[in-house]
Amino acid sequence: MQSFLNFTVVGIALAAVYAIAASGLVVTYTTSGIFNFAHGAVGMIAAFLYWQVSAPTVSGGWGWPVWLSLIFVIFVAAPIFGALLERVIIRGLEGATEVVKIVVTVSLLLALVGMSQWIWPGNITRAIPRLFPEVDDRITIGDVRVPYDRIVILVAAIIVALVLRVVLYKSRAGIAMRAVVDDRNLVRLNGARPARISMLSWAMGASLAALAGVLNAPFSNVDAITMTLVVINCYAAAVVGKLKSLPLTFLGALVLGLGEAYAGSYLDSTVKIGGYSVDGVKFALPAIMLFAVMVAQPQARLRAGGVQRVRETWRVPTMRTAVIGAVVLVGSVWGITELIELDAERGPLVTGLFFALVALSLVPLTGYAGQISLAPMTFVGIGAIVMAQIGKDGSTPGAVIVALAVCAVVGALVALPALRLSGIYLALATAAFSLMMSKVVFSQPKLVSGGTIAVPPLDLGVFVPRTNQQQALLLAVSFALLGMFVVWMRNGSWGRRLIAMKDSPVACATLGLDLTRTKIGVFALSASIAGLAGALANRSMPTTDYDLLASMSLTTLAVVGGIGAIGGALFGGFLLGTVQGLIPALFRDNTIGIFRFVQVAVTDLVKVLPGFMGISLGRNPSGAVGQIGDAYRAVGESKEATGLSVFGVVALWVLAKSDTIGNWTFVATMIVLLFAILPLLPILISPLPGRRALPAGVVLVVGLVAVGAIDWGTAIESTGVRVMMMFLATAVISGAATAVHGALPSDAPVEPSPDLLGVDRPITKSDVMEADRMLGLHESDLARSIAGGS
């Protein structure tokens, strides 16, 4: 009994931490409409900062007194940081799609985790002392000892609750905050400033995250990932309050905190069911609670608020492009692997193709249907386990099929409760699922022995991928086939349905479409494509390859690549492969001196890259591949240009293959060809009047030859710098050719500016309607105001 009461004390204190963190999350979400996945990371950074300022100077801190450190971190640094985030990143997201909103804050999480690992490397242990370190700093109620610092946490939570209550219901700013939730534009009309209020709420949110992070730090490992994930648990509490209600959120936190404390004490590694330990379940409690709450919630209301103007645009892919793309992909992979002996280790090519295949799973789900998953790598893990278990001494093709089926079924089960609700819940559910799988399944020694899954090669009888070249080809062919399948699907009625569902769910429902079933279908498809990638991995995969952070990085970069197109998946996959594999390998020992006194190790820089790339999405929601596609589209449209480029590539390859030119020369000339010559080729072939096409062509050829003449292999020591110089040379050549040629035509359609309405053209009724629509007015409002005046 006494131990039960002790656990209760622990549980209540934990609940208080969750409650504080979760209320911050709810406040920012309701006021700004952005669910901050980086909330936990903000708390984590705050804890590190607290350590930094409060730790004694001998251990690397600044030795400030505790009270000053607390005030500084919670009331100065955190709010400023929160407000800055709002100003710099969040404000730009108004009008962005839900997917972009989610990906941007997920990226923020990645960037913060990367930055913290960079600023506070894990090579020394940082302990944050308890506020009351003495043993007798406690009160005793009956037999139960309650340490002061747990009381402090509880008191803090109560104060937070009271303050929020007063602020939100009594102050003018608070009332405006609650109003923003319902309709930003209405609030604006009533004279409040949503931007200012949103900034305020982010400052408050960051402050609360910091408070939770600092209070919890003494009881947790001071480690970026652990601390980030602790606060992620509070998502479950916030979901109890439907991300809106603070009292229910506190209740959720209480249930969660107590549940975890009891589970933590009564479940240990000795408890087993059929040889599988159930120890991990205690860590999975938040996830389990999240699912339970979601199942209990009624179906979300559809919103009929009018469709927004889309900022992202995708062309409908044609089957012809898909087939050409497939052939080019497989051909290039074959060509490259023929030329360059891949390392014994998995090279960036194989890694990139692997990630591309996973990213492809997000094209139908995220690109077409507008749903998001933060667990693609979890399905990779499931596929890998199935392959390893069934394929280890059985038929591997059969195992692949089982892996596909298992992932589809598991995917459907995971998505079912979330899909009835709005998009943010699917992100939460998949994140929770990912955490749960890592704790409960991927930690089972029976399944993942020694922390890795040994995925056997796919044995097709005639073809077994033993070498890296064969593996690269297997992945390339799989990607090509599946890519064609996805394009075929997109062009069919189901594909159109997915797009329709993304554009207007409510309209689809009134046409008789069962939204939940359609979403389940696409989620299952997506899960099984990811599972396929796992089954084909053909290597031993450590658990960090399919944990939540891996999934988040993949989803982020897939969206950055441009997830509405197959090419975007390929690009995103290679971005991640490059970030993870190629850059660190190229720059093994390099540091980039930004200023003389800041030396940044390239490998550290790489950690924050995916995050920053994702954050930049707010500016260009269509991802990178759209722009790349635009640059090369003209090449495909002109027969001569296509012919010449194919000839150029093949010629260079033959020269390299026959050892006429060295491999580095091949790489350098290839870069010039692809990035300087190809984009300009179409306008050189059909020259514009008044421009100098021929001299520009000569510049390009001379540039190509000059680059080809440099002995790259010996001229520059570091591989990374060498590649950078190649790109620099390419940029110079391209710039020179453009300068010689004269201005390039811009192919962006010029949208008539509404500012010039009535100046350069007469105002028509449809212009008025359009203006009304953008202002959210109904014609009737105008009619009435006119009628009222007369």
Partner: protein, 254 residues
């Protein structure tokens, strides 16, 4: 008996009683009007009829069957189609695809339910899905815009696209929310004719519209809503005479 009825339909948003005890009856093969000042609760009533909002109390009855408990897509399958006051076209798709998706979605569930009357088509004609899309585009005058992205259309055209899309599921009752706003005078005229034809072909229409002359011209029966309550109902002539209606629209006429 009326094809679509609501009985005591009521919804409360917090303390705001937006729609209260609304009884509507939409006769088969006729155009019925629902009018009222801004904020009267017309769109909210539509949302409850098609299942986008759940009423606090009251029922929606389609052809004698209580559909109040069914989800939006199930009601659509039973024959309730609608358009939206705030445009809900599939903005990244072309006009043709918008209508096509409607056909395709219907084909997805149409096997299990009896199809409604084949509107617009010449009697007895067998139409393929593609023909049907063409026919709808043609009848709505959208053929020349078929390849334009719906997101780029003017409000008036976008409303027509929504109408075409709703027709593609062959509804029995069609709810139109301010379909003529965004149309100019000649277009409104043509639109009125189209509504008549649709009704003559057997479709029942419930229309919310602020263009009073249009309503008076095409609607056989008109309901007037004010502050969430039905304050009058009857034929155009009845309504034009009605004291309460004049008050609601023009303020207390002194």
């Amino acid at each position: 008996m009326a094809l679509l009825e609501t009985r005591g339909l009521t919804i409360r948003f917090g303390g705001n009683l937006a729609v209260s005890e609304v009884d509507l009856a939409v006769e088969a093969g006729a155009v019925t009007g629902l009018i009222g000042p801004n904020g009267a609760g017309k769109t909210t009533t539509f949302n409850m009829i098609c299942g986008v909002l759940a009423p606090t109390s009251g029922q929606v009855i389609l052809d004698g069957r209580d559909v109040s408990r069914l989800g939006t897509h199930k009601r659509a399958r039973l024959g309730i189609g609608r358009t939206f006051q705030r445009i809900e076209v599939f903005s990244s798709m072309t006009v043709r695809e918008n209508v096509q998706v409607g056909c395709e979605i219907r084909q997805g569930w149409g096997r299990t339910t009896a199809p409604g009357p084949q509107l617009l088509a010449p009697k007895g004609a067998e139409l393929t899905a593609a023909d049907e899309v063409d026919l709808i585009l043609d009848r709505l005058g959208l053929t020349e815009h078929a390849e334009v992205r719906a997101g780029q259309l003017s409000t008036g055209r976008a409303r027509l696209v929504e109408l075409g899309r709703a027709l593609a599921i062959r509804p029995r009752v069609l709810l139109l929310d301010e379909p003529a706003s965004g149309l100019d005078d000649t277009e409104t005229e043509e639109f009125g004719l189209l509504l008549r034809q649709l009704a003559d072909a057997g479709l029942s229409i419930l229309m919310v519209e602020h263009d009073v002359p249009l309503v008076m011209k095409v609607c056989a029966q008109i309901f007037v809503l004010d502050f969430g309550r039905i304050i009058a109902s009857g034929t155009a002539a009845d309504i034009q005479q009605n004291e309460a209606v004049l008050n609601a629209y023009l303020g207390s006429a002194k």
